[in-house]
Symmetry: none
DNA sequence: GTGGTCTAGACCACC
DNA sequence: GTGGTCTAGACCACG
């Protein structure tokens, strides 16, 4: 089952979005697989020290994106296939790179300067 | 004078911050220069279709950072020198690159893949 | 025995309350009589496709209002007399007519239009 | 401005739906007109003794149905035209009369008795 | 035990 | 002042 030990709730960004992002990163990195069981709202809320409703909101978003399946009274499971995983990868990796490139271009940074920046901060 | 045609107000992020960011990107790219005249609150609010107070809030922030000079009843002008421009560049460019690198690293992307992504999206 | 064919579970209002209401309507219409036997929790839950606990909750409410008699392990029976039936009639018929009249009046419908509506939908 | 004195919150049905219904009845009766100003979330919540969020949920539903217009920081206004009013009328009047007829029929009330009930309560 | 909804209180962004 | 969001607690239906 997916592990939430590495998820440290930080301030300034909604908790339910941090949970969504954590699960999506698990999908991209391959830690989470199809048909994996998700912790129940109550269990995860107790573990993270937040309200069950906050977990519910995160799971609901993932369900709307067809990444998990929930049925009243039953446990929740991951529902992944190649297309969905690719979509999540696009959303996280490509969208991130794309918006970064756009911002840098608008500020007059050259491609060479951008690559130099990446290399510089990669080591830190 | 700085052009606001390229500024498309998007939802989810405060309008006054989008205006601030747009002007700051102009500073970094060199489109905006020292002593440039800024459009009046009234003119810009009409052009963007937002409340004059929202423009006021954006200008006030820039004024607090000493990037513009306003005198009640008179026009506002950019107030830039090498140090200020460098500070804005750091704030925008470096912060952007840094957060992007961090996100990609967290998802298991290698430095080489990251650079490839930058090059790929730079052309589009 | 009371028939539950006409009971169509609708969303938005608690199922156990819908069951209570259905039985009370049977009392008012005379379909349900004193000493009538009620279907067992298990049978009714299977018929309606809901959880036995939901039936239990409905029966418990009727029991609290002294409209049925239950003894653990044995069947449940209606327990009606003139006073109880009149009370239920007041609660349902009069409350229904009253709230309906109030709603229609509030919407600017005239008495004649209201009667016409009743006649129109009575035939369908 | 629309009046909420006649709205008595009752149990068993979500408060926000009762508020939605009350406003829709005002639309049908003509009490509420296009461009009418709505009470703010805070004012109405204080008046009804419920949480501002409950009002927000009701207003949000009406906004989704394009019956009101809300913009952050500004007041909320009704947004009505003939087609929208007709749609609301259908939804309320017909649904109300239909469900009332169905309930009365199920309780063994005759059409004549139903009409008598309507006339009786109409005068009160 | 499970998932889901309703109401509430605190807070934020905006005009 | 306005509208909007986030988190929380209590409750409901269900297996």
């Amino acid at each position: 089952m997916i592990n939430f030990d590495a998820l440290i709730i930080e301030d300034g960004i909604p908790i339910y979005l941090q949970i969504v992002r954590h699960i999506k990163r698990g999908i991209v990195s391959g830690v989470v697989k199809d048909r994996d069981e998700l912790p129940s709202r109550r269990v995860l809320s107790a573990f993270l020290g937040v309200n069950p409703n906050t977990i519910q909101k995160a799971y609901r978003i993932l369900e709307d994106e067809a990444l998990i399946e929930s049925h009243s009274g039953a446990k929740s499971y991951m529902s992944l296939d190649g297309a969905r995983i690719a979509a999540v990868r696009d959303e996280l990796v490509e969208a991130d790179a794309k918006s970064s490139v756009e911002a840098l271009k608008q500020m007059g940074v050259t491609k060479e300067q951008a690559i130099a920046l990446i290399e510089k901060y990669w080591e830190e």
